[in-house]
Structure formats: C-alpha cells, structure tokens
C-alpha cells in the first residue's frame, strides 16, 4: 500500500511537471517569418503604423535571403504587430529583430510608449538597437539600398556595432534606454539614422544622435558634437581627432587616432554652488600628417599635445554651454554620477536638478598622451 502511494505521488509530480509546464510551441523554422527590424510611425487613422522588415528566404541549394516590408496600422504597437498576420500569412517571429527605428513624430509621442511592448513581451529582446530617423518617416529607411548586405536591419546593426571606432554616434539598446530614462532628471541620447544619396543609391547613414528629454525628442546633435558628448559620458572607444597647428607659419594638419580615453566626473561644494570637475585622460597616436612637422622634436610634440588638450577642452565647454542654453537637458549623466558619488547632495537637489545644473560651474581638465608617431616602416 505504501509502495502504491509512493508510486502514485511520483506519477503525480511527473504528470504535473510534464503537462503543466510551458514549451507548447512546437514550430518549424519555415512556418514563420523572421522579423529583421521594425519601424514605428504615426499613422493616419490609428495611433501607430508599424513597418516590419521580413526576411525572405528562397530555398534550395543556392539559398538567397532578401527582405520585404509589411506596413500595418494598429491602436497599439502589439495590436499592429498581430494585425500583420492578416497580410504576411505567417506568424511573425520577433526574437531575431535587430533594430527598431522611430520616426520623429513617434519619438515626440513618447519613446517609452513605442518600445514598451519590446520590454514586456516574451519573444522580443532587450538587446534591440533603438534608432531615430531624421527623415520624414521611419519606414523610408528600409527602402534604402545596402552596400554590403541586402537586409537593411542587418546593415544598420553592423554600422552601430562597428561605429565605436568612429565615436560619431552612440549605441543605445532597449535595455540601456529603459535604465537611463528611469533615472530622475536624466535625459538620454539615441543614435540618428538618415538616408544619404551616394552613387545614385540611397544608403543609410548612422551619424549624430537625437536628444531625448523627458521621453520626448528635443533635438539632434551632429557627429562631432556626439564625439564631444562621448568624451563626457566616458563612452569613447576609438575615433580620430583632427588638429591644426602652425609650423614655421605654415599650417599642418595632424590626425590623431584615439586608443583609449577615460573620463572622471567629480563634484565639489554643496547643493546650490555645485562645481563639476571633468578629468579627461586620452591616449592618442599620430596617424596622418599633412604638411611638415618635425616629430622627432619633443617640443613640437609637446606643442601638439597642448593644442589637442585645448581644442578638446574648448569643444567640450562649447557643447555644455550649447546644451544648457538650448535644451536644458542632462544628457551627460551628471545626475546619475552625483547620485552614485554624493547621494546626500543628490537628495537635496534632485527636485530642482535642472536649475542646479544650469547654474553649476563646470571645470574641464584634459590630459593627452601622444603614444607614438606611427613610424612608417
């Protein structure tokens, strides 16, 4: 009797664990359409107009992957996503989507609203890159022609991944956006994408960033400004600096490659008279020289170092003034840093952070190491 009881118990546990658990969704790979990327626009009749780039696979020995786009309207993003079945015929598969592109209108409507479904659904991923289209609509980006691949979303993914050696744009995925936008008083940036005419082809270009303040689009920064911003945000991983210096009254243009850059932000003084110190420590190498410079002379190198330090400092100060006056947005993550370093101060200022920030004094210190002169072998 006891044995039967034990067997019965084990059976019950097994049955439950088998039949009450998930994983009901047996599906063959050819029974769904793989979504490569999504574009969110504001529709004419409904609230949202969702455009999905679907991967089309022609089977057989020489398999080819191309893409087509499907545009559907819906009251919400998920509503539109499900409405797509009525056109595509197959269920859409979102796990392999790489990018989500928002139009300016959609961003004005609230970026969080547009990506909320992505953070909540089980099939979608939080590692999807967010982009904002500089053009009229977001879906027009998918009409561009790629130079390397045929699927636009994959091209955009490659651009974003590899632009860290350019530093003229930033990387923002859904997870990063959700974290940064939840910080009180913080504004975020999202890379901007546009189509550019090149050799009679419209090719995508990811350069510059969009400023998002209070979850809404506030404006755009160009590529150079984005690079300066990256210095402050400690996000520089590469890129080049072009410096001009006078040698014997002749101009010489020197291009420096950034190897590595570290930025420390510290705060001094209390509450109202906040002083922000930015220390930038950059290692560069001379990569290209236009003109004649005697690089074997240590004085010349030192002069170049001085010039570079000054230009970086100037540009960063200009950017901070511009942002302060035009947008009044804390896209530098100063608030987060203050909260991490001086939580007591943060508590006292967080309610009128924007005012405190606009009155704060910013000291920029730059230190450039010129590692080598890239001796040509």
């Amino acid at each position: 009797m006891k044995k039967i009881k034990i067997i019965f118990l084990v059976l019950m546990v097994l049955m439950n664990s088998i039949f009450a658990a998930g994983c009901w969704n047996y599906k063959e790979v050819d029974q769904f359409s793989i979504v490569a990327g999504v574009a969110v626009d504001i529709g004419k009749n409904s609230k949202y107009e969702l455009t999905a780039e679907l991967i089309q696979i022609s089977g057989g020995k020489e398999a080819k992957t191309t893409s087509k786009t499907v545009t559907v309207e819906g009251k919400t993003i998920f509503d539109a996503a499900r409405n797509m079945i009525s056109i595509s015929g197959k269920k859409l598969y979102w796990s392999h989507a790489k990018v989500i592109i928002l139009s300016k209108e959609a961003a004005n409507n609230g970026v969080k609203n547009a990506i909320e479904w992505y953070t909540r659904d089980s099939e979608t991923r939080e590692s999807v890159y967010v982009l904002i289209s500089k053009g009229e609509t977001a879906k027009e980006i998918f009409d561009g022609q790629g130079t390397t691949e045929s699927i636009m979303s994959f091209i955009l993914q490659d651009i974003i991944k590899n632009q860290m050696s350019l530093s003229k744009s930033s990387v923002t995925d859904i997870l990063k956006y959700s974290i940064e936008s939840q910080q009180k008083g913080a504004s975020t940036i999202i890379p901007a994408v546009s189509l550019k005419l090149m050799n009679d082809k419209m090719v995508p270009e990811v350069i510059g960033t969009a400023i998002i303040k209070n979850d809404k689009l506030a404006g755009f920064l160009n590529g150079e400004e984005t690079k300066d911003l990256s210095f402050i945000r400690n996000e520089v991983k590469g890129g080049v600096l072009v410096e001009e210096m006078q040698v014997n009254n002749l101009p010489a243009i020197i291009t420096l490659e950034i190897f590595n850059s570290k930025t420390k932000v510290s705060f001094s003084a209390e509450a109202e008279d906040l002083v922000i110190n930015i220390d930038i420590d950059t290692t560069v190498a001379i990569d290209e020289v236009e003109g004649t410079v005697d690089l074997s002379d240590e004085k010349e190198i030192n002069r170049l170092k001085q010039i570079t330090e000054n230009t970086i400092k100037e540009r960063i100060e200009t950017l901070i003034i511009k942002i302060k006056s035009e947008y009044d947005a804390d896209i530098f993550c100063f608030g987060i840093k203050l909260w991490q370093n001086n939580p007591q101060v943060w508590k006292s200022v967080k309610n009128n952070w924007e005012d405190v920030l606009s009155n704060a004094e910013v000291n920029v210190k730059t230190n450039v190491h010129i590692k080598n002169s890239a001796i040509v072998s």
């Binding site: 994983c23 063959e28 790979v29």
Partner: protein, 520 residues
C-alpha cells in the same frame, strides 16, 4: 540382470539423456562381464553411430579381452593407435603382468598416456567419453580406465576481429576453454591465480571456469558470482552471452553490467585489478565482474600508449558517448522550440534548407536515424563483398538524393551522420545508445529542451541506481578525488596509478609500493 532394468528405465523415459538414465539408481553400473558392459554402454549410446566400439585381445594372454570406446572425431586417433592399442596388443602380458589385478597393471605399465584414471561411476564415464576421452574396458572388471585422448580441430590463436589494436599483444581467445586459460596463465605466473570449474547446462554440460587472483578478488563478489551461477538452470549454453544475461544485475537495463572481452591482455589486467573472470567453453568472449561504466571507455591500447594521447582518446570516447545520445534531441529542441537560441545567420541557413521540405523535422530525424540503424545492421549481416554496395546506396541515396529531392533538410542529414559516427565509436553500449537516444528524441519532440532534460535526468538517475555485483555502476565517473578519477575520464601516467580501483580491490589496494603512503 542389467538389460531388463535398463529396458525398464528406457521404457519409462525413452528419450531422456544419459544422466537421467543412470542417476537415480545407484545399483546401476558396470559389472564383471565385458559383453554385458559393452551391451550396456551401446544401449546408452544407441542410435549414435559416431561411437566406436573396438574389441581386441592380447596375443599372449587370452584372458585379456579388451574393448575401447570412443567417439569418432573427438579423439586423436594417433594416440589411440600407438599408445593404447599397440602396447596392449603387442606386449607380452603373460610375462609382464604378475599380480591378479590386470586392469591396474595395464594402467601402470602398458598404456602410454599422460592422464589415465580408474573410474567406476557410470555418469562420469559417459560424460568423459562424450568429451573426447577413451574408455578402456577389460573382461572381468567392473571398473574402466578413462584415458585422455582429446583431439579435435580448434581454431588457431589469432587477433580478434572485434578489437584490433595498433599497439599491444595480438593474440585473442579461441573457442577452446583450456587454450584460453593457458593464455591468461601465461600472463600471470602465480599460484594465487585460481581456476574453479563448473558445468552448466542440463544437456550441453558446458564447462565454465571461474578465474580470480586470491587475495585480490573480494570474497563477497566471488560468492555472489558462484551463487548466481548455481541458480542457472538452463538446458544449454552456446555462448558466454547466455550467462552474461542470466547473471546480470539490472536485467531490464540496456546497459551491460557484466563485461566481456576477447583479449587475454584485457582479462589479465582486469584480474590484476581484483575482478573475477568467467571462461565459458565454446566462446572466445570471457566475462568479467564487476563491470562499471568507465570500463566502456577503457581500451587496452590506452595503457600501452603515451598517457597524454590515451587521455585525449578517452575524452573523445566519453564526449562522443554523451553526444551520440543527446545531439539529435538537442538539435530538434533548439530548431523547433527555441529558435531564439540560434545565432541569426545559422537560423537563416537552417530556415533556407527547410524551404519546401514537407516532412516535419522530428519525423525526418526519427526516419533518418532508423534508416541509419538499418544500414548498420545490413552492414553486419551482409556478406563482405555486398557490404560495399550497401555503403554506396546509403551514402548516395540518403545523403544526396534525399536532400536534393527536398524530402529531408540538409541539417537533418548532417546531424544523423554525426550521430551515427559517434555511435560507432562506442560499440560497447550501442544498444543503450540507440534506446536512450530515441527516448531523449521523443522527449525533445514533445516538450523541447524541457523534455530533453527530463529524459536526460531519468537516464542519469537510472545510471546512478544500477549496481554491478554491489559495486556502483557509475563508480569514479563523478569523482576526481585522490585516486578515484585517475583511470576514469583520463588515463593517468603509470607512475601515478599506484592504487587499484577502490571498491573492487578493497582487499589489497596497493599496486605500486610507492603508493602505500597514499592508501588512505
């Protein structure tokens, strides 16, 4: 007097064998009259025309009427002619034989043979005749001489087909138990090596021999083995496989808990680790107990080659043993349930190969694996020249044509091929591989990776629960402490393996005296 009695018995049980003819009545036996004895024995061997009765007399001593009985084909006729018939016929018995006991004098002075026994027990007499000995009867004696004249054709010692080696001894066991014992004896020259014979099989009377090293083998395991052999009650043993299955632990498990090998070096090495060997006459496969799971992965060459190379090979065997069971199930569950786990380019190429394929992935996997097993079995059964044709058909028709005709997708064929090759590396437990691979695949096709893991855990628990002669089957697989793991997943260098396997050789752990300090 005898005839009537025997006729009675024969009437009662006309077809029963010799043993039952004579066993029950102790009065039955040889009597003084040669004629009676001959008719008595010819009654026992009636309708068996291979039994030869040869009657002859000594030319000097009329009273010495003799008869030899043997089975044609089982004996060496040269020995009979020159060492039995010739001396008895020609020597002057009237001069040589002084005492009254003619039979004993013949045994001591006339018959030239290394083994002669005086025997009165009729059942022993009959069984030794059946095993190739010659029976020597003399008028006036109720006893007989049993002279060893065994001489039948046996296969010469050659390298076993089932386990060829590049490095190592090239001899293999034959079908003759005495030859097999000598092969092991030649490797272990000690009086501690014990051989205990036992006949199994009501009709075949197959000789078996329990072989062990005294002082190394555990008494408890030896007694358990003897007890299990005692309980066998079967009419015949043709191959050691019969006994292997009859004395096995976990009889319903596809995993073998009794080992078998065709190589004397393997058996000798296992005896030296404290295991017990069981030789069965007529089978070149010698059984060993206890048998644990790591022995599936141990090849004799491991111990003769460089230890780094051996370790690499053993890791490959272990790895392929796991993957040959799991690969189809993992593939199926990821491709059909968890596509998000695949890198995008891989998903695209798998999706591309799936285009226009009508059969679902799970069905096509089952189908291809089944066809692979059919091909494997055909390869075993076919005569060698035709086997080539099977390979061509298998490779071309299944590998290429099926993909080109869009019946199955290319990844399925690749997974089947990988699984098949990996299965063939570990032929020791191919039955378990096929069965559990199918179970895992079933689990995966119903419940994805979740079902796969349920079945995998069941497999693991099953392996953990098995014992072979009270030794845990998974011994040393999950442990790497001290000396436990040195001969499991890896093959440690010989200078490190100072101790024998812990549980099996508990009597005497030290293999190399330098390991004494580490015994505990």
């Amino acid at each position: 007097m005898g005839d009537a009695m025997f006729n009675n018995i024969l009437k009662r049980k006309p077809e029963s064998n010799v043993k039952s003819n004579v066993a029950n009545d102790e009065n039955i036996g040889l009597d003084m009259s040669l004629d009676n004895n001959i008719s008595f024995l010819s009654n026992i061997f009636q309708k068996d025309e291979t039994v030869i009765f040869r009657e002859f007399q000594n030319k000097h001593l009329e009273a010495a009427k003799c008869c030899i009985i043997y089975i044609d084909g089982m004996v060496n006729t040269e020995i009979i002619n020159e060492n039995i018939i010739q001396p008895v016929l020609r020597s002057d018995l009237s001069e040589n034989i002084k005492s009254n006991n003619l039979l004993e004098e013949l045994m001591k002075k006339v018959i030239v043979s290394n083994s002669v026994e005086l025997e009165a027990d009729i059942s022993k007499i009959v069984s030794s005749v059946l095993y190739g000995d010659t029976l020597f009867l003399v008028e006036g004696y109720n006893k007989a001489l049993v002279i060893s004249t065994k001489g039948w054709k046996i296969r010469s010692i050659s390298e076993p087909e089932s386990a060829k080696v590049v490095r190592g001894p090239r001899e293999g066991f034959t079908e003759s138990i005495m030859v097999n014992l000598s092969l092991v004896r030649r490797k272990i020259n000690t009086t501690d090596l014990k051989f205990e014979f036992k006949e199994i099989g009501e009709r075949t009377h197959t000789k078996t021999c329990v072989c062990y090293i005294e002082g190394l083998a555990l008494e408890s395991i030896l007694n358990e083995l003897k007890q299990r052999l005692e309980k066998i009650n079967i009419d015949g043993i043709i191959d050691s496989g019969y006994i292997q299955e009859l004395i096995k632990d976990a009889p319903y498990s596809p995993f073998e808990t009794v080992g078998s090998s065709e190589r004397p070096d393997v058996i000798a090495a296992k005896l030296l680790e404290g295991r017990i060997a069981l030789f069965v006459d007529g089978s070149p496969f010698v059984l060993t107990v206890p048998y644990v799971v790591v022995e599936n992965f141990q090849a004799n060459e491991d111990y003769y080659n460089n230890y780094i190379y051996s370790t690499m090979n053993r890791l490959i065997r272990g790895f392929t043993a796991v993957t040959s069971i799991t690969i189809p199930a993992i593939f199926l569950s990821i491709v059909n349930y968890h596509q998000e786990m695949l890198p995008t380019p891989l998903l695209l190429s798998i999706a591309a190969s799936r285009q226009n394929v009508p059969i679902p992935t799970s069905v096509s996997l089952f189908l291809m694996l089944f066809i692979f097993d059919v091909l494997r079995e055909v390869g075993n059964r076919m005569p060698a020249p035709i086997g080539q044709a099977v390979n061509v058909v298998g490779a071309i028709v299944l590998g290429q044509a099926a993909v080109e005709a869009n019946l199955v997708s290319a990844p399925v064929v690749i997974v089947t091929a990988i699984t098949g090759i990996m299965t063939l590396i570990n032929m020791n437990f191919i039955s378990a591989t096929i069965i559990f691979r199918t179970i895992l695949l079933l689990g995966a096709s119903f419940l994805g990776i979740y079902g796969f893991f349920i079945c995998f855990i069941i497999l693991y628990l099953h392996l953990m629960s098995i014992r072979s002669f009270d030794v845990p089957y998974m011994m040393n697989v999950t442990r790497a402490k001290n000396h436990d793991g040195q001969d499991a997943w890896i093959r440690a260098p010989w200078w490190v393996m100072t101790l024998r396997p812990k549980i099996i050789a508990a009597n005497d752990l030290v293999r190399q005296s330098s390991g004494k300090s580490k015994e505990k």
